[in-house]
Amino acid sequence: MVERTRTIVVRRIVTAVGILCILAWSLAPVYWVVVTSLKTSQEIYSIPPTLLPRAPTLDNYRDALFGSQFARFVLNSFVVALGVTAVSAVIGALTAYPISRMSFPGRATSARLIVAAYLLPPSLLFIPLFIVLQRLGLIDTRIGLVLAYLTFTVPFCTWMLIGYFRTIPKELDEAALMDGASRLQTLTRVVLPIATPGIAVVALFAFTHAWNEFLYALVYVYSNTSKTFTAGLSGLVMGDTFIWGELMASSVIAIAPILIIYIAAQKYIVEGLAAGSVKG
């Protein structure tokens, strides 16, 4: 018995220390971004650095929002991400339905191609996609960027939705079909209402992906009217002087929407991740 209690105590201590390490490691950089964004530029460069802002100020936020193009970039990100989300949720649902619930020649191949497309890294596509968008005259437009993001989000949404749709009994479809409903009606009136949570998670992922993406944004959009915030921020970094206060304030502004979504839907996201990558 003595042995056992000692094991339990050791285990608890290890767990506590482990949790402290994990939290310190994941939170410290985020903390540092937020704290820096609230400091005056004088304090930002003072040595030793201060752990808490001595005179907290929102000046950096004012500069970021009103003294630069950043607000415009955020708006562009929002428009692009919303477009990507809507298109890929619709196309994803349309594609996932037959693959998960109908039998037709080529079904297994389609599923395989979708997973392969989802796994295809953007760095393999960014040069030839540049040539395609150039030919279509869509370089430096938000529509061009939406098209580029669809190459990732459509396979991704389809793959996730196949998983969700499979959890819905096929008998429901069969009943609806017997009653004379078309396949499209079955999808919109029977399957989609049940799969709403799944669709929501998939939409969140698509939005997040488009919001966070950098490589395509860097290569395909460059003017202020179409640049997204990731490309906009990199423009600021590539200069020789970094205005860290303003950069960090911009970062906080850009993280905020994602964090709100993420915290609100954390449970579903974790479940969705597990469901999307490993089926079982």
């Binding site: 767990t15 949790i19 939170l27 985020v30 540092w32 930002i44 040595i47 650095p49 196309i91 994803g92 349309l94 594609t95 037959p98 693959i99 109908m102 039998s103 020649p105 389609s110 599923a111 979708i114 997973v115 392969a116 497309a117 796994l119 295809l120 890294p121 760095s123 393999l124 596509l125 040069i127 030839p128 040539i131 395609v132 098209l147 459509v154 396979p155 389809t158 499979r166 078309s182 396949r183 966070n212 950098f214 490589l215 860097l218 915030f229 990731t230 990199s234 860290w244 960090m248 850009a254 993280i255 994602i258 964090l259 915290i263 954390q266 974790v270 990558s277 490993v278 089926k279 079982g280």
Partner: protein, 311 residues
């Protein structure tokens, strides 16, 4: 549709012919549903991929179509120390960070699966780096690593760990480690999440049986937990290998490939050749040279991810 209004067994006259719509055959409906996705697949994925491979055999530039040059781009690359060095950097960075994420991810998952107070909140906070956009994560670390005013410089100097400033990002021997740290920070939560889900799905009676047989904690981990997680570990490692090899913004923002092109990885080098210097052909060749690796990885992973999924 009218047939539905007549309760079954009510009608004495012979039931009217069921006015079922003549449905289109299933395969046709299926293809119609999949048409938009197929169009995207053909026009924005397959065609560009083929075009990209073809471009790698030309001297195409952004402003001019170029002409075929055979294997000249590849011959040039394999004689180019910058390309070889970048390939080496890519390999080191991918292998190193994936290994680190695997070990740390297992450890964090084991810790976070214990009964701890406020578990939901603790997990959410631990996963935070995953939700931070890569661009912002890169900026945050660039500021932390800043060689004049960065907090890390101050810490290592004032704790007496070093006696002169460390060039976290401008010393090529150190810069890759700095990049690796930032990449581990960002990529670790994905491993932790996957492993937590896998841990939760191990049947409790396996552990109980092993405990009754007298197996201790470490023994149980090695002979129950790890074998049960093998599938998830394989998928996670392969997914992360693809993503890490291709992660662009960390290197792009933290070092920009410099100093003197010493910290490039293949994606940033391809960007520099294709877009920065406008040599689309040469940039494509950089990418094409690694496609075989990805074909194999994607093939293996696709099979694994679909194994249980297609009847």
């Amino acid at each position: 549709m009218n047939a539905r209004a007549v309760p079954a067994g009510f009608s004495s006259p012979p039931p009217p012919e069921r006015p079922r719509r003549t449905h289109r055959p299933d395969w046709l409906v299926a293809y119609m549903f999949m048409a938009p996705a197929a169009a995207i697949f053909a026009a924005l994925i397959t065609y560009p991929l083929i075009d990209g491979i073809a471009t790698a055999f030309t001297d195409r530039a952004i402003a001019q179509p170029g002409k075929a040059v055979g294997f000249a781009n590849f011959a040039g690359l394999f004689a180019d120390p910058v390309f070889l060095h970048s390939a080496w950097n890519s390999l080191l960075l991918t292998a190193g960070t994936v290994a680190l994420k695997l070990v740390l991810g297992l450890a964090s998952a084991l810790v976070l699966s214990q009964a701890i107070p406020m578990r939901g909140l603790v997990r959410a906070l631990a996963f935070l780096p995953w939700a931070v956009p890569g661009m912002i994560a890169s900026l945050a670390w660039k500021w932390i690593f800043d060689e004049q005013s960065g907090v890390l410089q101050y810490l290592v100097l004032s704790l007496g760990l070093v006696d002169r400033p460390v060039y976290f990002l401008s010393d090529p021997a150190i810069a890759l480690f700095s990049v690796a740290a930032a990449m581990v920070w960002q990529g670790l939560p994905f491993f932790t999440m996957m492993f937590l889900a896998a841990l939760a799905s191990i049947p409790a009676d396996l552990h109980e049986a092993a405990a009754i047989d007298g197996a201790g904690g470490i023994r149980r981990f090695l002979s129950v937990t790890l074998p049960q997680m093998r599938g998830v570990i394989a998928v996670t490692v392969m997914l992360s290998t693809i993503w890490t090899f291709n992660s662009f913004e960390m290197v792009f923002v933290l070092t920009g490939g410099g100093p003197a092109n010493r910290t490039h990885i293949l994606p940033t080098l391809a960007y520099q050749y294709a877009i920065g210097e406008s040599h689309l052909g040469l940039g494509s060749a950089v990418i094409v040279s690694v496609i075989p690796v990805f074909v194999v990885l994607i093939f293996l992973l696709t099979r694994r991810m679909l194994r249980q999924d297609l009847d």
